[in-house]
Amino acid sequence: MLAKLEHVTKRYVKNEGLRDLSLDFPAGEVVGVLGLNGSGKSTLLKLLAGLLFPTSGTVTVFDGAPRSKRANIVFLGENDALWPWMTPSDAMKFMSNLYDDFDAARFTGLLDSLKVPLRKTKTMSRGERGRLRLAMALARNAKLYLLDEPLAGIDLISRESILSSIVQEWHTDETILLSTHEVAEAEGLFERAIYLREGRLALDVSAESLREGGKSVVDTFREVLA
């Protein structure tokens, strides 16, 4: 198992992020993490990234604590923390210094296929910055990619090119967890869909087996979470 949660509960000061969640993630799976706002999607991804610690239960990635395996984990968060003065070539230097597994050639290719303009981020649109951030994330050679809402708040064309790049760059031994509200656009990518409701697992299912029953991942989203 590439990553594993065993009876994980995460309590914040005021509310519960996740409650008694147990999940296994084998290598080479593209998983949709689906739920409404506050359902625990980001909490799940941050626990796997080692950015949060469980209140109880254990999270393991490659048989260790996520924090000790960060070289193998890519986390793309919701916060757009790019420096305003940064250009894509600054971003390339920054990432190369930070991560041994950063592939500069792959990054350049991604900038091209994602049509990222080569200017300072402060003059970029939200979609352009989102595409740049995805290029930075996908240019690393990791085994676990945790993509938190990479499609949120950006235009349709950017969303389509982001999804295409994820398909192009994905190697069959890598596991991707992608949380999204834009279920309709992303659902073809998912082999497995995990539905969270108020911090609990509502459904964990193979996407094609849902469709076997004549329902899409979106239809099921409405059913399970309504």
Binding site: E185, R211, S216
Partner: protein, 126 residues
């Protein structure tokens, strides 16, 4: 959501994607958009075009290979077999669709004439 790109059309609510991909290939062969000897896109390229998982395309291609419609040529890619059962494919697919229509018509107690008339009326509109 219907994902309609060129010759390919996928509806996420209309059954497994791998079956739809395979059916798309059958339809293209039936109408001549794809011919024996033609090369199919690589699983990854088609996956990126349709925004579906590459494994799903591989699954569809394996299915078509088992049906003797396509073959993988080592190092070259995936091709429609020269002996693919193309003749009769259009007729087979029309029969399949007609069966469903005939069932519906019989349930409505319609005569074949009524059914043919209805079909003619919608043919050019649809």
């Amino acid at each position: 959501m219907i994902n309609d790109k060129g010759n390919w059309s996928i509806d996420m609510s209309a059954g497994p994607i791998f079956e739809q991909i395979a059916k798309n290939v059958h339809q293209m062969l039936a109408r001549g958009a794809l011919k024996p000897g033609d090369k199919l896109p690589s699983a990854r390229d088609l996956a990126a075009k349709l925004n579906v998982n590459p494994n799903t395309i591989v699954h569809a291609y394996n299915e078509l290979e088992a049906q003797n419609v396509i073959e993988k040529r080592r190092g070259l890619g995936t091709f429609v077999r020269e002996d693919a059962p193309v003749t009769g494919m259009k007729k087979d697919m029309l029969h399949q669709a007609a069966n469903a229509y005939a069932d519906e018509g019989r349930q409505l107690d319609a005569s074949i004439q009524e059914a043919i008339t209805a079909l003619k009326e919608v043919w050019d509109v649809g």
